[in-house]
């Protein structure tokens, strides 16, 4: 993974004479005191983070916490007061006007909360806007715009006008407009916040699907934790202009940096946040299946560990089956020289590591034996029993 965007010590202070406000910031005054003393608003203070290539990076925070200001400093719709933003190592804050325009045409595009479509242009013309601005031929504009519309499922509406579309469709046009120039970075400022909940989840899925087809670096602004958890690979939480925590959704939920961050989780369904891999229990006895190892020695190991169930894996840690002391004893009685598969328990279910806990819950309730968690290559990564599940849920409720 390479770092696509690096934000270093970024500040935005609105109003004239930011130096004085900056001085007060250094002395440790907060946003409200500085506004009272100088009339300057601190939009963003001392922000540093980096965004990896291909990841969906969500910036979350309450209203007024500086999210929009932050994202607009990435393409300099708002001039940063201090600090640097590097795109592939190049400092955006030092770019000349023409370099900046070229960068916006090639590398970054943006999706807006209220869509910002042009009502006098057709859907296809709207989608082609970025190409039109950078001087592509009419034929090329239409071709690329249609391809982008195809990607968001709006090709049949290419010649409609925006006022003939529903909100969700309008934002698809906004998305198509952003995709048409084939940027490496998408900036999305509350792109789905104006949509009703159902359409909103649909659009989130759409974005995730587009990411799977062709992964871009996405900086997504949201004030909604569910949305952030759903689409974010990592989340940055902003409070009063500062970034107070950065981490994966799991890290943030399980280890909130302060009360403000924790306050976001009231009412959040943690079973959506954790995946099976996060809570898999790795303490069970594993027996590697290899020639010369017989049923009896496996029975011995299980009894040594005071367990009742063992996990049989191959040399590459790939999961083979579960055995219990009882099933091993039965198999030995039938044919003392037999092989492990004779002793495998029937009805054991495996789940992928990225399955969400809410899905695991149902399976665990139905299954007689612990669920076996495997990664995408079939390697064993732990088991989930009903008791581990209950323990986890109980722990996160208290958090």
């Amino acid at each position: 993974m390479t770092e696509k965007l690096v934000v270093e010590d970024l500040y935005k202070i609105f109003g004239p004479k930011p130096e004085r406000a900056m001085e007060l910031l250094r002395q440790g005054y907060d946003k409200n005191e500085i506004f009272a003393r100088t009339g300057n608003t601190v939009g963003v203070r001392e922000a540093s983070f980096s965004v990896q290539e291909g990841e969906v990076f969500v910036i979350m925070g309450l209203s007024g916490s500086g999210k929009s200001t932050m994202v607009r400093m990435l393409n300099r719709l708002i001039e940063p007061s201090y600090g640097h933003v590097y795109l592939d190592g190049q400092d955006i804050t030092q770019m000349s006007q023409s370099e900046l325009i070229a960068m916006r045409r090639q590398d970054m595009s943006m999706v807006f909360q209220s869509f910002a479509l042009l009502p006098h242009k057709t859907v296809a013309e709207n989608a082609a806007f970025g190409l039109d601005v950078s001087g592509h031929s009419a034929a090329e504009q239409r071709e690329k715009a249609l391809r982008a519309l195809e990607a968001v499922g709006l090709a049949p509406n290419a010649d409609s006008y925006p006022d003939e579309l529903s909100g969700g469709m309008k934002q698809r046009v906004g998305l198509a407009r952003a995709l048409a120039t084939d940027p490496t970075i998408l900036l999305m400022d509350e792109a789905f916040s104006a949509l009703d909940p159902l359409i909103r989840t649909e659009m989130q899925d759409e974005l995730l699907r587009l990411q799977q087809e062709h992964s871009r670096t996405v900086v997504f602004i949201s004030h909604d934790l569910d949305e952030a958890m759903r689409i974010g690979d990592r989340i940055a939480i902003m409070e009063g202009g500062s970034v107070v925590q950065i981490g994966t959704p799991e890290e943030i939920v399980s280890n909130p940096a302060n009360e403000y961050v924790r306050s976001f989780f009231y009412g959040v369904d943690v079973s959506q946040v954790y995946s099976a891999g996060d809570i898999a229990d790795r303490r069970r006895v594993t027996v590697i299946q290899r020639p010369g190892m017989d049923l009896r020695s496996a029975l011995g190991r299980i009894q040594n560990y005071a367990g009742d169930i063992g996990v049989i894996i191959d040399r590459n840690r790939r999961f083979q089956g579960l055995v219990s002391a009882e099933s091993l004893t039965r198999a030995i009685r039938q044919s003392p020289g037999g092989d492990y598969p004779d002793a495998f328990l029937e009805g054991v279910r495996t789940v992928a590591a990225d399955t969400s806990i809410s899905d695991v819950l149902g399976m665990a309730a139905e299954s007689e034996y612990p669920l076996v968690v495997v990664d995408e290559e079939g390697r064993y990564s732990g088991t989930i029993s009903q008791s581990t599940l209950l323990l986890t849920l109980d722990r996160t409720q208290q958090a």
């Binding site: 607009r72 393409n75 719709l77 325009i101 070229a102 960068m103 916006r104 045409r105 970054m108 595009s109 943006m110 807006f112 909360q113 209220s114 910002a116 042009l118 009502p119 006098h120 242009k121 057709t122 296809a124 013309e125 806007f129 970025g130 039109d132 601005v133 950078s134 009419a138 034929a139 239409r142 010649d159 006008y161 006022d163 407009r177 120039t181 900036l187």
Partner: protein, 371 residues
């Protein structure tokens, strides 16, 4: 406490102060004299400038009048331009050839020559009715036919054309000057701060006042009338252009910038098209103000329907005055409805926002048929 005591003594000094202010300040401020000497200075020293302005305005008025007298030429130009802009270069070429073919009929037949090259006066009347039918609807077209018929029966058609050409010419000049000022105003608060009071002044000053300097600089006749008209009619176009551009939503502007618009592209691709309804409203108001001023301008010999009304007043001929007035009203209604129709979003016509948008929207249709 001390001040109370000193106030009684100060009566003397206050009187002194008053007479000093009178002598030294108030009597020295002689705005009327200053304006007069300014006007004298301009007519003495800026002769070439005045001549240039006069020539430009005269040419504009003459061309407009010719276009209205022989309207088929200008119609052909619009058709060719429209075909080229909307349907592509090929269609423009075809329209050009077709128009040339039609007009060349004049070489072969005297009747065609008279009709096409030197249209009879009713040709314009016909076009007005057709424009009413196209832009507004059949009811309005019917009204237009009746109104035009009445003007003919009152034998005021030549005066109407004269008034119309003055209105059109001064509106065009007002827009050429006013729209860029409006754009400049929308882009800088400082410019707005300077221009706004000037606009207020221009609008509240009684219109007759413009006639005096205009007559001094340019003598009597059409040109000073047109100049007084364009000054009087300009403010709404400036104001509404400024307002329209400032009202374009922040997100639209940001969208333009985020996709890499240069400032010029931002203006032409985002701000002007989105401000178009407001700008068209300003243009409509400018046209209406120009019409009302043109009537007044007849006092310095601009001619047209205003002169008819003026004659009616001077000779106390109520009938003549009323006929002139009625023709002005008809002209006003026709101009208003037709010019407004270009600023409105019309149902059943997609999202066409009239002429401006029609031009801005470009040639998508042509691309489609080519694909």
């Amino acid at each position: 406490m001390q001040e109370e005591g000193s106030e009684q003594q100060a009566l003397g000094p206050l009187d002194q102060l008053r007479s000093w202010v009178n002598e030294q300040v108030l009597e020295r401020i002689t705005i009327g004299d200053w304006i007069e000497s300014l006007v004298d200075w301009i007519s003495a020293n800026l002769e070439p400038l005045l001549v240039g302005i006069e020539a430009t305005i005269r040419a504009l008025v003459d061309v407009t009048e010719a276009a209205l007298l022989y309207p088929l030429w200008i119609t052909a130009v619009f058709v060719i331009l429209g075909a080229w802009l909307k349907l592509g270069r090929k269609a423009g070429g075809i329209a050009l050839v077709a128009a040339a073919a039609v007009f060349s009929l004049g070489f072969f037949s005297e009747a065609a020559k008279a009709l096409l090259w030197f249209s009879p006066p009713w040709m314009l009347a016909l076009l007005v009715v057709v424009a009413g039918l196209w832009r507004v609807g059949w009811r309005f077209a019917l009204f237009a036919a009746v109104a035009v018929g009445l003007i003919f029966s009152m034998e005021l058609w030549p005066e109407t054309i004269r008034t119309l050409s003055l209105v059109v010419a001064s509106s065009i000049a007002a827009l050429i000057i006013g729209l860029p000022i409006g754009v400049a105003m929308s882009r800088s608060n400082r410019v707005e701060m300077v221009v706004r009071p000037i606009l207020d002044l221009m609008q509240t000053m009684p219109p007759f006042v413009y006639l005096i300097p205009a007559a001094i600089f340019f003598g009597l006749g059409t040109v000073p009338g047109a100049i007084a008209t364009l000054i009087f009619a300009m403010p709404p176009a400036v104001r509404l252009t400024n307002l329209g551009i400032r009202q374009v939503s922040q997100e639209h502007v940001e969208a333009g910038q985020a996709f890499g618009c240069t400032p010029r592209q931002l203006l032409f691709k985002i701000q002007l098209p989105l401000a178009a309804p407001s700008i068209m409203q300003g243009i409509n108001q400018t046209i209406m103000l120009a019409l009302s001023m043109v009537v007044i301008a007849s006092m310095i010999g601009a001619g047209g329907l205003g002169a008819t009304v003026l004659t009616g007043i001077q000779r106390l001929q109520v009938g003549l005055g009323f006929e002139g007035g009625l023709a002005v009203v008809f002209l006003a209604i026709l101009l208003d409805r037709i010019s407004q129709s270009f600023g409105q979003r019309r149902r059943g016509q997609g999202s066409g926002w009239g002429l401006l948008q029609w031009f801005f929207r470009g040639r998508q249709a042509g691309d489609k048929s080519a694909a």
